[in-house]
């Protein structure tokens, strides 16, 4: 019987803790247990034997930290570990799990470890372990969902062994990086893990509370490996507060709650396992039921499609948006992020992400935007692209289980998309068109939906992961189009198939489109529509959604509706108008909204360049001077800068592109440095003084900076570094710049910088603060 058959036929037992046992046998603090595989193999084998004798079916190899970051002799260590475990198993009907622990580094975007490096490092260990004869891969003690994903992908890409995954939840039932069980289950099941669950940090009592979260969402066998309670110090030694008797009693409850693969973690001993086996082996065995849920997830939570209608925000899309296109061309990621943040505030549950523009590298931009969105917004994302390369790249680094937009009934489309859904996990929007176009009848569209679902099942993709979009077409050109679409929604809903629509197409070519959209949306929801891509800034659409939920019992006590309705009432207190009505007054006082309004008025009478040169810049200078004289503080300086920015935005439309730009400045935080608050302040001020800023972000390589300088022709570069450890990267960047772009000047700043230090590493200027950066730019450009 292989391990996959074993776990489907009865309760399966894992082993318990290794650390406590090995320490009692002389493992020193700071000594790596993995090294004992070579230096004291007998002890390792003895430890495994003790657990086998206690009744464990799965023995975990002593390879928790065996990765390239810690060991040079990886092959030797892992091979020895698997051999030791296999040797211990001789004479037992047991399985060897290759133990894979976390890498101890944080992945991008929060940390600096690239996702693909993590995959590579895990793959390296897994290949060795699989080659040495492990029976399964156990990825355990995962604190971070993205790292868990990297490990599972590595396992899937480098061997054919079953993959078990356990993560560390805390008392709040979340991982330290934020994911709840539902989110982890969605992602791990999508990736094809064979068993999933929890280990470490908590004792069995606390885990007993988490198990129901798993039985509710998981269709996959559930693993529970608790610590022996909580640690405390006794005569300088670490002891745990739950003995074998109590531990095994609670493990009985855990089995009754639905776990079928159980064992222990820190502090548990062979005795804990022996008692657990004795007490639980006769308990009824029940695998989790197949849930067939349609779920997508982010790095914190899951969104289920099929209860309340789900809103997918449509605003991250360049179609028909000049400002958005400009942001894509100029790599202005902040603009795109703000579109996401604003939609999040409006209450959308999923964000559509479309960054396709002919003149940019869509795959690269998609990855950049998704990574950036996932560092600030916790909503699940819908990856919207027709380019399979962009789709795959985005799916790889996506932290969670994504919604994919889209697949069609065309063979070519299904061939490209379904392997991606299968490999990375995801729910996919299926549009009802094929080689013959879009059927004119509801039946025709349902037929294509059935074809897509049947084809998906050949890839092992369930009906629950297909969300059919029966396509809303302009009612102005075909008066039956709305009826056909609505009928298709109703029929699909009746067949238990989830549906989605891009609602606003329906009103194309009509006046007062928002009203038409809102009524159509309401009708579609009434016919069972599960989700819709809409503009959440449209009050009509949000009204339709809130009213529908209130009227159909999906909004208990109409709580959300009431809150929404109240937010619509005009607030009694109009924002009080503060005194300055002149533009320079607004800027000096840092009044953002007013500065915009006043500037909008002003362009009706004054040439835009005159506003900039004789009002905005002098006002900024006044504030800047105050800052230099320590009469104005940094927050005030920034408030003025923001007010000036609003004014700029207002008059931008009236200026021929490029006329107001003074010169280009490339700014970046150097390689290895992830702190960018200072650089961002410099950016804001330089922008306000009319410079064209190319902001390369943080942790930027010298090569990228030099390449950007060369391709843009910028004559000034601003570099920031926070710590002594990153100053060498700054020096390297300056050297390369002086060599490759000798006429470009470099100004530097940052916490560790001094005038002397700056001169030593060859900088042309040192800035103590953001104003000095402006002064240097003014002198130079």
């Amino acid at each position: 019987m292989n391990i996959l058959e074993k776990i489907r036929n009865g309760i399966t037992y894992c082993d318990g803790g290794a650390g406590t046992l090995l320490q009692s046998w002389g493992l020193e603090a700071g000594e790596y247990p993995e090294s004992w595989n070579i230096t004291k193999p007998d002890k390792i084998i003895e430890m495994h034997r003790l657990y086998l004798e206690a009744g464990a079916d799965i023995i975990t190899s002593c390879t928790f930290g065996a990765n390239r970051f810690k060991f040079d002799n990886l092959e030797e260590i892992i091979t020895a570990a698997i051999n030791n475990a296999k040797k211990a198993c001789e004479g037992y009907d047991a399985y060897v799990a290759l133990d894979i622990g976390p890498l101890g580094k944080m992945l991008e975007p929060l940390g600096d470890l690239p996702f693909e490096t993590a995959v590579e490092v895990f793959s390296e260990s897994i290949k060795i372990g699989a080659g040495a004869g492990a029976d399964l891969v156990l990825i355990e003690t995962m604190n971070d969902s993205l790292e868990a994903k990297a490990a599972v992908l590595a396992a899937k890409e480098s061997c054919n062994l079953p993959v078990f995954v356990t993560c560390v939840y805390d008392e709040t039932k979340k991982l330290m990086t934020g994911a709840n069980p539902a989110a982890m289950i969605a992602m791990l099941e999508g990736l094809g893990a064979d068993a999933i669950g929890m280990n470490c940090s908590l004792g069995p009592k606390q885990m007993l509370d988490i198990v129901p979260e798993f039985t509710k969402h998981s269709s996959t066998p559930i693993i529970v490996n608790p610590n022996a309670g909580l640690p405390r110090s006794e005569n300088g030694k670490t002891v745990y507060d739950i003995d074998a008797e109590e531990f095994s009693d609670i493990m009985c409850e855990i089995v009754k709650s639905g776990a079928t693969i159980i064992g222990g973690c820190c502090g548990t001993t062979p005795e804990h396992i022996r008692k657990t086996v004795e007490k639980t082996k006769k308990l009824p065995f029940k695998l989790p039921e197949k849930k067939n849920l349609t779920v997508v997830s982010s790095y914190t939570h899951a969104v289920e499609i099929g209860n309340k209608p789900v809103i997918i925000g449509e605003r991250i899309n360049p179609t028909g948006k000049k400002r958005f296109k400009e942001a894509l061309r100029e790599n202005d990621i902040n603009y795109i992020l703000n579109e996401g943040i604003a939609q999040n505030k409006k209450g959308v549950s999923i964000l559509d992400v479309n960054v396709g523009l002919p003149e940019i590298d869509e795959a690269e931009m998609m990855v950049t935007v998704i990574r950036a969105l996932q560092s600030v917004i916790d909503l699940p994302l819908q990856i919207d692209t027709v380019d399979p390369v962009a789709m795959e790249k985005a799916l790889r680094i996506y932290n969670g289980k994504a919604l994919m937009n889209s697949v069609s009934g065309k063979e070519e489309s299904m061939k490209a998309v379904f392997p991606l859904v299968k490999k990375y996990g995801g729910a996919v929007i299926a549009v009802t068109l094929d080689e013959n176009g879009i059927p004119e009848t509801a039946e025709g569209r349902v037929e294509i939906a059935k074809k897509i679902i049947a084809r998906a099942s050949e890839y092992g993709i369930g009906k629950n992961d297909i969300i059919v979009d029966p396509l809303a077409m302009a009612v102005s050109s075909d008066s039956k189009s709305a009826i056909v679409t609505l009928e298709a929604v109703k029929n699909l809903h009746g067949m238990g198939i989830k549906t989605s629509l891009g609602v606003s197409n329906i009103s194309f070519g009509l006046p007062s489109r928002a009203d038409v959209n809102a009524v159509f949306y309401t009708m579609a929801m009434h016919n069972g529509l599960d989700c819709a891509i809409i503009n959440p800034f449209s009050t009509e659409m949000m009204k339709a959604w809130h009213c529908f939920n209130a009227l159909t019992g999906k909004d208990e006590n109409c709580t959300d509706y009431i809150e929404f309705a109240q937010s619509l009432e005009p607030s009694e207190k109009k924002t009080e108008t503060k005194s300055p009505t002149s533009l320079d007054g607004c800027i000096i006082s840092g009044l953002k909204e007013q500065a915009g309004a006043v500037a909008t008025e002003l362009i009706k009478t004054t040439p835009p360049m005159e506003i900039i040169n004789s009002i905005i810049i002098p006002a900024l200078n006044t504030v800047g001077k105050g800052f230099e004289e320590k009469k104005v503080y940094l927050p005030q300086l920034l408030m003025s800068a923001q007010a000036a920015k609003e004014a700029f935005e207002a008059i931008k439309t009236a200026i021929p592109s490029g006329e107001n730009k003074k010169g280009k400045v490339v700014i970046a935080t150097v390689k290895g440095d992830i702190h960018d608050i200072g650089k961002n302040i410099v950016r804001v001020l330089l922008e306000n003084y009319g410079y064209e800023i190319i902001d390369l972000g943080k942790d930027v390589s010298p090569e990228k900076i030099v390449d950007t300088v060369k391709s843009s022709g910028a004559k000034l570069v601003g570099l920031s570094a926070l710590m002594t450890t990153t100053v060498p990267a700054m020096e390297e960047t300056i050297k390369l710049l002086h060599k490759e772009a000798p006429d470009c000047k470099v100004m530097v700043g940052g916490a560790v910088m001094t005038e002397e230090y700056a001169a030593m590493i060859g900088a042309d200027s040192y800035g103590t603060d953001a104003m000095s950066a402006v002064r240097f730019a003014e002198k130079l450009l």
Partner: protein
């Protein structure tokens, strides 16, 4: 043994005055209280305060300090630990969700970003101060917190501290290639356990020799 504690946000008081110091105000006049107070309450709902620490033996020989798990050359650390037989090694953080908040607010507006960042700095210090009080029955006997990078204490010893405390597993703290801490608002420190009341008034960063620091 390594102890791990998780503190509720309500237990940590972030002083708006401290925030203004980090914001570069030279006096607390004319500050926009509302912005700071809003940032504090937003930070509090995202903070996930965790700390892990362990007691280690201290042996000083010349300019070399032996802390059991590591040996470091540092005049300033030896001066700080002079007369101590033991010390606490500590790693504390405000959690990854607070880092996401700072990044989000920086996207929304630079001022919101910088205020939230400064709230984070004040928060981690406040948290460490609170931990200091609970470490020992005689908190007055504890020496000022001494962190890698202070004085001549090399920043590399950060690696050993994080590894020794299993800070990644215990509190979710990790280091980048250039030894920056993730989550960003984190502290690692060595705290000497003195035998008498600590006479040194300077705490935290004030013991540092850097003359270039914007906060002094």
């Amino acid at each position: 043994m390594i102890e791990t504690i998780k503190s509720a946000a309500a237990e940590i008081t972030i002083d708006p005055k401290e925030v203004t110091v980090y914001l570069g105000y030279y006096s607390a006049n004319g500050i926009e209280d509302k912005t700071i107070n809003e940032a504090i309450s937003e930070f509090e709902s995202n903070a996930d305060y965790r700390v892990c620490f362990a007691k280690v033996p201290v042996t000083i020989t010349g300019d070399s300090a032996d802390l059991g798990f590591m040996q470091v050359e540092s005049k300033s650390l030896c001066k700080n630990l002079d007369g101590c037989d033991e010390a606490y090694i500590l790693a504390a953080t405000t959690g990854i969700s607070s880092q996401r908040l700072i990044e989000k607010n920086s996207v929304i507006s630079p001022i919101k970003g910088i205020v939230t960042d400064c709230v984070g700095s004040a928060a981690i210090e406040a948290f460490c101060d609170k931990i200091n009080l609970s470490l020992s029955d005689n908190p007055d006997f504890l020496r000022p917190r001494f962190s890698p990078g202070y004085g001549d204490l090399c920043i590399d010893c950060q690696i050993k501290i994080v590894e020794f405390l299993c800070a990644n597993k215990n509190i979710g703290l990790s280091l980048t290639e250039s030894l920056m801490m993730i989550p960003k608002k984190s502290v690692t420190a060595i705290i000497g356990i003195g035998k008498e009341k600590n006479k040194c008034k300077g705490s935290g960063c004030m013991t540092c020799k850097s003359e270039n620091c914007p906060y002094r």
